[in-house]
Symmetry: C2
């Protein structure tokens, strides 16, 4: 598991390799991103970065997250709500999937090796060599089920 420091170093290295410049904005955005709780939207990232460096523009956040994607340091995700979010890229060893509560929106990460092997097998049976996958489970978490009897809280749409 890469530390945020290692990721940041990898970013700097990748920039250098590509002949791109390290700038205060890129550094701030990358640092915030690597330090972040996972699954940030562009706007989350923008807001966080502005706290550190109010001189960063929205466009630069977009441009930098695209760089991070290219460097394979950020994964883009489109969950069922349609919101585009980003998370720190996972290496093979730390791959995980998501379990999402339909009520409170909580996202739990998990990894199950049986699932991974089964997927490989299914793909192979259908003639594919599997590169990657996305899996999201949606349901209601324990807390929401327990509080459902008392309070009824729903999310729009």
């Amino acid at each position: 598991m890469q530390s945020r420091t290692e990721r940041f170093a990898a970013f700097r290295r990748a920039l250098k390799e590509k002949g791109l410049k390290s700038t205060a904005q890129r550094d701030d955005i990358a640092r915030v991103f690597f330090a972040s709780t996972r699954h940030m939207s562009i706007d989350d990232l923008y807001q966080e970065v502005r706290k550190v460096n109010p001189r960063v523009g929205y466009a630069t956040v977009y441009r930098t997250i695209k760089l991070l994607k290219d460097c394979e340091l950020a994964d883009e995700r489109h969950f069922a709500d349609g919101q585009t979010r980003y998370e720190n890229a996972e290496s093979d060893e730390e791959h995980h999937d998501h379990l999402i509560c339909d009520k409170c929106g909580k996202i739990v990460e998990f990894n199950d090796q049986r699932l991974e092997s089964l997927q490989e097998q299914i793909a192979s049976d259908l003639g594919f060599v599997l590169a990657r996958h996305r899996m999201e489970l949606y349901g209601i978490c324990r807390e929401c089920r327990e509080s459902a009897g008392r309070t009824r809280r729903n999310r729009a749409g």
Copy 2:
């Protein structure tokens, strides 16, 4: 497995239940959608519907696909390319997941009961009651692998 006629009837019924009107536009859009190859974008649907009825507006396609979602007759999907697409909703018995070729974009549907049970079990272990899931496997299909030896085609990224 519901036929397109059954789906259409279900749509009409759902409209009536909700106190909404059946109109030529809604009928045309629904018919085209139910008859469609799967995974249409809004624009695909719009283009197809215009062939049948050139008097249908873009906004109505949006409004109607939303209706179809509400009636659980259309499923909205956001594949990794970010394009929003719709497909005929699946009932529990005909649920399927997707296997997508990174090279040619081919989408193969499959269903595997072992996968379904495993997912239930994982969710339950983590305290969730599972409602639904999304799973997409990405890889390279046999045809693309076989032609790769001759022609080398790569995608950016």
